[in-house]
């Protein structure tokens, strides 16, 4: 960013970058490779696409971090824009989950659905909400608290404490994922066993994937804290990770209440007609 000092406006116009086109190649490769795999082909082309995507994430966001540590690139106004951008990204994610909740309610409420007559469908052996799901709820809620502790530590310029609590949050995310994997392994229904597993696995599965992404995001933040990137007034990356984590938390609350408790209780779902 050689010309940062010379400019007269507060905005950040980066130099030309190879990462967008590399990211596009990653997406295209994953699409073609995924279709090939789904039609009985090998998975390696899809895997190559994923590797290019990871390479894109690494290279692109490395560049962003370099800019964040460059004086003048991330001015106060640019920081406001970055926050807006991330909030709107989360808004789009909310609408993505909206689709899966719609599928769940459409399938489970006879008033909306002309097909299903009972919910849960017969033959489905339910996962008790009071078991692993409740434990995971406690883990994820706790992690929301620990990430807030870490955030306050950054604002108080207490780096050691911030590092410790950010790692604790990331580890709680990993523990959540471990228990969710256990839950999937122990489940007696598989993905192709009808509408209940369809809504269950896609809704909780996409949530789990988001927990994975959030855990990686937090781990990167913890490492950046160790390198001393974050200052009390300059830690957009951490803020974004924390917002993302709260979003993942809220989605889980809705999943726990609706899919695990309400959707798995076998009362009051007999269709009128």
């Amino acid at each position: 960013m050689a010309n940062e000092a010379a400019k007269t406006h507060p905005w950040h116009v980066p130099e030309p970058s190879p990462w967008p086109i590399i990211g596009t190649i990653a997406g295209f490769t994953m699409a073609v490779g995924g279709i090939w795999f789904m039609h009985d082909g090998p998975i390696y082309l899809f895997g190559v696409g994923v590797l290019i995507l990871i390479y894109t994430f690494y290279g692109w966001w490395r560049q962003v971090i370099i800019e964040a540590n460059t004086a003048g690139a991330h001015s106060e106004q640019v920081k406001v824009g970055l926050r807006y951008g991330f909030i709107f990204f989360i808004a789009s994610e909310v609408m993505f989950f909206f689709a899966f909740f719609w599928a769940f309610f459409h399938s489970s409420l006879p008033i909306l659905n002309n097909v299903a007559q009972v919910w849960p469908p017969e033959g489905i052996e339910l996962i008790p909400a009071s078991g692993v799901p409740l434990l995971n709820t406690l883990i994820l809620l706790s992690s929301s608290a620990t990430v807030t502790v870490a955030h306050h530590a950054i604002i108080d310029d207490n780096r050691k404490k911030a590092i410790r609590w950010t790692w604790i949050t990331a580890i709680l995310g990993a523990v959540f994922l471990f228990f969710q994997a256990e839950e999937y392994i122990d489940a007696t229904f598989k993905l192709s066993d009808g509408i209940y597993p369809s809504t269950f696995y896609l809704a909780t599965g996409f949530h789990g994937f988001h927990v994975f992404v959030g855990t990686c995001f937090l781990a990167v933040c913890a490492m950046r804290l160790q390198k001393g990137h974050f200052k009390p007034d300059h830690h957009i990356g951490f803020e974004a990770a924390a917002w993302y984590w709260h979003f993942v938390d809220v989605v889980w609350i809705f999943l726990f209440i609706n899919v695990y408790i309400w959707g798995s209780s076998s009362f009051g779902h007999i269709a009128a007609g």
Partner: protein
């Protein structure tokens, strides 16, 4: 009028990258906008060719030359997808939006210039996937609505529909990233003094369009993912045999699909508002009403989706609600139409080509709007559903009204974008050929539809022969108009005649007219300040 304290006199030409990197690695909103426009033009050739082949087949009853009816369905599907996702959206949103949002709000570039570039490049990748879909395993004969069970593995077992789904996933990612960029730019980067209530209406239109994209596209992404797992991993979202319901797809699709039609037309509203004001030499009538009418259309657009599904067996209360909610949209739409007319009223109107297309837009949009109110009635729709009346309706509002806004925006801004003067006489000829062509093309379809001609069929009873032949001749005239457009484009880009910074004179008072033509590589390096709203 918007007054600028400063016109960019000394823009920086030194940092312009050269060669292929300038385009492939671009972080420049103007270059990216130009690439969007080029992509839209290339896709438009393909999409128009598909529609002309459709009209050739429908020229007379009986099979003309398409003996494989699946291929006919593939043509219909390709035409729809290409026109929606690769022509109208890239041109109106990606093209004009990228070019003129930073210019009109007085900022050097978009909020996230690199993300802007991936928003563009995902689209050619998506288009390639869509073309592959059309060429492989018989193609997707599903229509752009991709309803199961037709779209299920039972009826489309090959890879075609999967390529279509992944194409839409990439195009959707492009739209979501673009929307995030547009909203962040407009909210955060307006020049000092440009409050929300002082933004040009084109900026309002882009902001609202981006919000609709941000909230609607992810729902499509979710639905497409369910369709993909239904087809390939044995889930049963849309399969009654597993307890699922094909209606769920229709709900999810139209919850995206109805905002999507406003995503295509609200940018057109913005373009037309700028042009009508400029060529009437008057501020837009009812500026705030115009802005909030668009907002109202956007909000209500999310709660009317099931008017696309009146015949699926809803109870009468549901149909009554969706009829009412749909008709409510006529109110803000009427505000817009009458405000454009009131802007022209008493104005000193110049009938240059952009204004001709803008007035053409208003006429065509009113025709499509009136049939929209007709179709809003759940009762009437029992008869009209899936007939050519619907085809006529949505082609009046989208195909021709949105396309007219694209032509209008092109003629309005090509001087700013290229620095060249388009040939006025040839451009006016292109307007009249296109205007006459589209009306001959689509007006008879109302009559064919009222007589009961169904959509998406390659052959039809002899009773519909007359209207179909007229319609097909209209298509050929419209295609001549499209060819004329490319002649105009060629003559413009090779023209020696240049234009001044403000070629339209006193009526054009938004910030893009304060920079020289063609707009330099970097503009608004020094922030302009705005003291009044466009309406004053």
């Amino acid at each position: 009028m918007s007054e600028t304290a400063h016109a960019d006199a000394h823009d920086d030409h030194d940092h312009r990258p050269t060669g292929w990197r300038r385009w492939v690695y671009s972080t420049n909103h103007k270059d990216i906008g130009t690439m969007y426009l080029a992509l839209a033009m290339i896709a438009a050739i393909v999409g128009t060719a598909a529609s002309v082949v459709i009209r050739l087949e429908l020229h007379e009853p009986g099979v003309q030359f398409i003996t494989d009816f699946q291929f006919y369905n593939v043509l219909v599907t390709a035409h729809g997808f290409i026109m929606v996702f690769f022509v109208v959206m890239p041109a109106l949103i990606g093209g004009f939006g990228n070019w003129f949002i930073p210019l009109m709000i007085g900022t050097p570039d978009m909020a996230f210039p690199r993300m802007n570039n991936i928003s563009f490049w995902l689209l050619p990748a998506a288009l390639i996937l869509l073309v592959i879909a059309g060429l492989i395993d018989g193609g997707p004969g599903t229509g752009w609505t991709v309803y199961p069970p037709l779209a299920n593995a039972d009826y489309h077992p090959g890879m075609a529909v999967d390529f279509g789904i992944l194409s839409l996933h990439l195009a959707g990612a492009s739209s979501i990233l673009g929307a995030i960029n547009f909203i962040s730019t407009i909210i955060n980067m307006r020049a000092p003094g440009m409050t929300f209530h002082r933004m040009p209406l084109f900026i309002w239109a882009m902001l609202l369009t981006a919000i609709l994209l941000l909230l609607a596209i992810p729902v499509l992404a979710g639905a497409l993912t369910m369709l993909l797992t239904d087809r390939n991993f044995g889930t049963a979202f849309f399969d009654p045999a597993g307890g699922g319901d094909p209606l769920l797809w229709q709900h999810l699709f139209w919850f995206f699909g109805h905002p999507e039609v406003y995503i295509m037309i609200i940018p057109a509203f913005g373009v037309i508002s700028e042009i009508v004001s400029t060529f009437s030499k008057k501020p837009i009538f009812g500026y705030l009403g115009m802005a909030y009418a668009m907002a109202a259309i956007g909000v209500v657009g999310f709660i009317v989706w099931a008017h696309h599904m009146y015949t699926v067996g809803f109870n009468v209360e549901t149909r009554a609600y969706f009829t009412l909610a749909t008709m409510v949209i006529a109110v803000p739409t009427g505000i817009k139409i009458f405000s454009w007319l009131a802007t022209m009223w008493g104005g000193s109107i110049k009938f240059d080509t952009p204004m001709l297309f803008a007035m053409g837009f208003i006429f065509l949009f009113v025709v499509g709007g009136v049939t929209g109110v007709t179709l809003a009635n759940a009762g009437a729709d029992q008869a009209f559903h899936d007939t050519y009346f619907v085809v006529a309706h949505f082609h009046y509002v989208l195909s021709v009204a949105a396309i007219f806004a694209m032509y209008a925006g092109f003629y309005y801004w090509i001087g700013k974008m290229s620095g060249k003067q388009y040939p006025e006489g040839l451009a006016r000829l292109q307007f009249w050929v296109t205007f006459i062509g589209v009306n001959i093309l689509f007006f008879p379809q109302h009559f064919a539809g009222m007589a009961g001609m169904p959509r998406r069929i390659p052959d039809y009873p002899d009773a519909y022969a007359g209207w179909n032949m007229i319609s097909s001749w209209g298509a050929y005239i419209t295609a001549v108009g499209a060819i004329l457009f490319f002649v105009v484009l060629w003559k413009t880009l090779t023209s020696k005649e240049t234009v001044s910074a403000n070629q339209w004179g006193t009526g054009a008072n938004t910030l893009e007219w304060t920079v020289e033509s063609p707009a330099p590589f970097h503009t608004h390096e020094q922030t302009p300040s705005i003291s009044t709203q466009p309406a004053e």
